[in-house]
């Protein structure tokens, strides 16, 4: 038997030295025992379950606090807890934002199965959003929490700017999926500004950009959530059709307009009864935009295709191919990548083939992405054709993060709580 082993050894050895192989240990005279290689198990095997449990609990609690109890303080407290747990304790991974990529990958790569935890983290917030709006953003998401904590002197972003910037998340979402589909890595994780904080350390560039986002966050409330977060797009859609949603007033809106500047996220839609502008020419404008829609889409499809090809170096095979080409040609110094490839013995032609496939994938993906963006922009223009008639102040379901800051502003709230005065008094706070 042992000989068989030895034979294999020799052959293995002769074939590829360095390949996995066993050698007979020296015949020690002293009583020497071989130390065992220690292999510590992955941390937090148990955490999978804890995390899920905490997530469910937090989401449930958040929904109740926002829609039932209507307590901003409660939400804030829960938010701090989640920041501590999901953020600093669990180091910001797993997060549903990144999970978008895992789910996408599991759909296209047969050899990748998305871990159950990740799947749950991806789905649950969406389900809750379908039922109660973006309560996840309000109190559970650590990225949201760390920003919300530093909202010190929020200023209102002009609607025009906000609307424009709110296209960005769609771009990020599209790009992230495009890259994952074509083996370009996890864009969202790379652009996660806070994970370095949660880990209390990391690449300088991450820390710096994170710091900048937080700085901006002191005056522009939750910039990442509003103008970058790709998961927010999905939550927004879900929240649009949510079964119930947080309301500004506990019962009836009296149009006192006290809540107008309550929301640092500009998510409050004012009542516009008797507003002449509300209806005038809306139909016409909408129709005009609807007509230009195909054109917009077409343009973006073209641009997307080109940009897609340009992005293909995100895929390592493409980079490798270029590197090797450059070297064969003498235009570049040999790099580890190419040496490894040559050593691996995969035929060059195979790589070329792969690259062609990838680039095609990028172009096609880019076109789709373009189409999507064109559609988003077109629809937004149509929606901006005019404001539909609103009789009372209500949250913009897609934007509202259910943070509950507006409760305190509503005189009805105070009446309801303790039939007191309808004017907000001093000890009300607007930023915790």
């Amino acid at each position: 038997m042992k000989k068989a082993v030895l034979v294999c050894i020799l052959f293995a050895a002769l074939q590829a030295f360095g390949a996995v192989q066993r050698f007979p240990t020296p015949d020690f005279e002293s009583a020497y025992r071989l130390p065992q290689t220690q292999t510590p198990p992955p941390r937090g095997d148990l955490y999978e379950y804890i995390d899920t449990a905490v997530l469910v609990a937090a989401l449930g609690l958040a929904s109740w606090l926002a829609l039932g109890l209507r307590s901003r303080r409660g939400i804030f407290a829960l938010m701090l807890f989640c920041l501590a747990y999901f953020g600093f304790w669990r180091k910001g991974c797993v997060c549903p934002i990144g999970a978008i990529q895992n789910v996408t990958e599991s759909l296209i790569r047969p050899d990748y199965a998305v871990p159950l935890t990740v799947a749950v983290f991806f789905v649950l917030p969406l389900v809750f959003a379908l039922l109660y709006g973006r309560v996840f953003c309000a109190a559970v998401c650590p990225l949201g929490a760390i920003q919300d904590a530093v909202v010190l002197r929020p200023a209102r972003v002009p609607r025009a700017v906000a609307e424009a910037l709110s296209l960005l998340p769609h771009v990020v979402l599209g790009l992230a999926i495009l890259l994952v589909l074509n083996g370009g890595g996890y864009l969202i994780c790379r652009l996660d500004p806070f994970v370095a904080f949660f880990r209390l350390g990391g690449a300088a560039v991450m820390l710096i950009s994170g710091g900048v986002v937080l700085l901006i966050g002191t005056v522009v409330a939750r910039p990442y959530c509003r103008f970058f977060c790709p998961y927010g797009v999905l939550l927004g859609w879900a929240s649009l059709v949510s079964r119930r949603h947080l309301t500004i007033t506990p019962d009836d809106c009296v149009n006192c307009r006290l809540c107008e500047d309550a929301c640092p996220f500009g998510a409050i839609l004012p009542a516009n009864e008797g507003n002449p502008a509300a209806d005038r020419g809306v139909g016409r404008r909408a129709a005009r935009h609807a007509l230009t829609l195909p054109l917009v889409i077409a343009v973006f499809v073209l641009a997307g295709g080109a940009a897609g090809r340009a992005l293909s170096p995100a895929n390592r095979s493409v980079r490798l191919d270029r590197q090797i080409a450059a070297e064969d040609f003498g235009a570049a110094e040999p790099a580890d990548e190419s040496r490894a490839f040559r050593a691996g013995g995969t035929p060059r032609e195979e790589l070329r083939e792969e690259v062609r496939r990838v680039q095609f994938g990028f172009v096609r993906g880019g076109r789709l992405l373009g189409a999507y963006l064109g559609l988003v922009i077109g629809l937004k223009l149509i929606r901006l054709a005019g404001s539909r008639r609103r009789d009372e102040y209500e949250p913009d379901r897609a934007r509202c993060l259910s943070c509950g800051r507006c409760f305190e502003y509503c005189p009805r709230e105070h009446l309801k709580r303790r039939g007191g005065t309808a004017i907000p008094v001093r000890q009300h706070e607007n930023s915790t």
Binding site: V7, I9, L14, Q15, F17, F23, R190, A203, I216, F227
Partner: protein
């Protein structure tokens, strides 16, 4: 409202930063800002061998039609023998395949005594083939653990290096076991063969047995009875020494007593004189594949060095310059 404008500018700046960063990300070597080659162990510099240092010219080698050629030996008449994939192949002086003899099992080493009789070392036993015949005599097994990695024979003796048991078997030409050499033995001054990896080579010349003791990076001289007479060789990355922990991997002897050695790690073939003094390089590392191993050696009757290059599945021929 006023405070917003600078904030927005900042925001856009940030966006830019993201884009650049993304490009850097796609660009690959994100090294957390460190020098890209921090902590790189560069052995490339030992691989380069200037042509001028080579004492030998490489002639056109010839390919061997074997999947895994393992051992090579020079025959008496210009011809040579190569074993591998359970086959023994005889090549003529021009490297054309002359004969192909099937063996029972994969052979690792081969030798030819003066008379032209050919001995091949299979995993645990020796097979003998006499020219002109097609039948191969398989001797008895040398034991469960035996794994022959080298063999050498003269008129009366056959020596086989057994990596599995870390000994050298001595048989007569009929296959009768005459004895074993090796194992720690203060009396003979031998401290055993130290074989970290399965390369264990030997060669005989006028009643002296030369054995590679790779663990000690040296070549040892024994009498046929197994008494160690002398040894030479030391470890060094420089050409005059044997590189790495356990080299040389193979040796061969010139008729005039000079040695040819081959190494792994830095695959290189070198010549030492009869006293073990470094003479010069035959082939440098950059002439072989990076992970070339098992470069079995032979010296043919024309004094040319034959190197078996398993990676390229060919016999490479080197002749002295000038």
């Amino acid at each position: 409202m006023k405070r917003v404008i600078p904030a927005l500018i900042l925001f856009l700046v940030l966006a830019m930063a993201y884009v650049l960063w993304l490009k850097r990300g796609t660009g690959g070597s994100g090294n957390n800002g460190r020098p890209p080659d921090a902590y790189v162990y560069d052995i490339e510099k030992y691989r380069a061998t200037p042509n001028a240092d080579l004492l030998f010219d490489e002639l056109a080698g010839f390919e061997v039609a074997l999947k895994e050629p393992r051992g090579i030996a020079a025959g008496p008449d210009k011809g040579l023998f190569v074993v591998g994939d359970a086959e023994l192949v005889r090549l003529d002086g021009e490297g054309r395949e002359a004969e192909r003899i099937a063996l029972k099992g994969a052979a690792n080493c081969v030798t030819s005594d003066g008379a032209g009789k050919v001995y091949a070392g299979l995993a645990d036993h020796i097979a003998v083939w006499s020219p002109g015949t097609t039948n191969v005599v398989h001797w008895g097994s040398l034991g469960e653990n035996a794994l022959l990695t080298s063999i050498s024979a003269d008129a009366g003796n056959v020596f086989a290096a057994d990596f599995g048991n870390r000994v050298i078997w001595r048989c007569d030409t009929q296959g009768r076991l005459l004895g074993a050499i090796g194992g720690k033995d203060a009396a003979s001054g031998s401290s055993g063969f130290i074989l970290p990896s399965p390369y264990f080579d030997l060669a005989i010349r006028d009643d002296r047995l030369w054995v590679v003791n790779p663990g000690r990076t040296r070549v040892e001289e024994y009498t046929f009875e197994g008494r160690m007479l002398s040894h030479w060789g030391r470890s060094s990355m420089r050409p005059e020494g044997f590189c790495g922990c356990c080299n040389p991997s193979h040796i061969a002897l010139f008729p005039d007593g000079r040695f040819v050695t081959s190494e792994k790690g830095l695959p290189r073939v070198k010549v030492y004189d009869a006293k073990g003094v470094f003479v010069g390089l035959v082939a440098g590392p950059d002439m072989f594949a990076e992970d070339a191993v098992g470069l079995d050696l032979a010296v043919d009757s024309r004094g040319r060095i034959l190197v078996l290059d398993p990676a390229r599945r060919m016999v490479r021929v080197f002749a002295a310059k000038g």
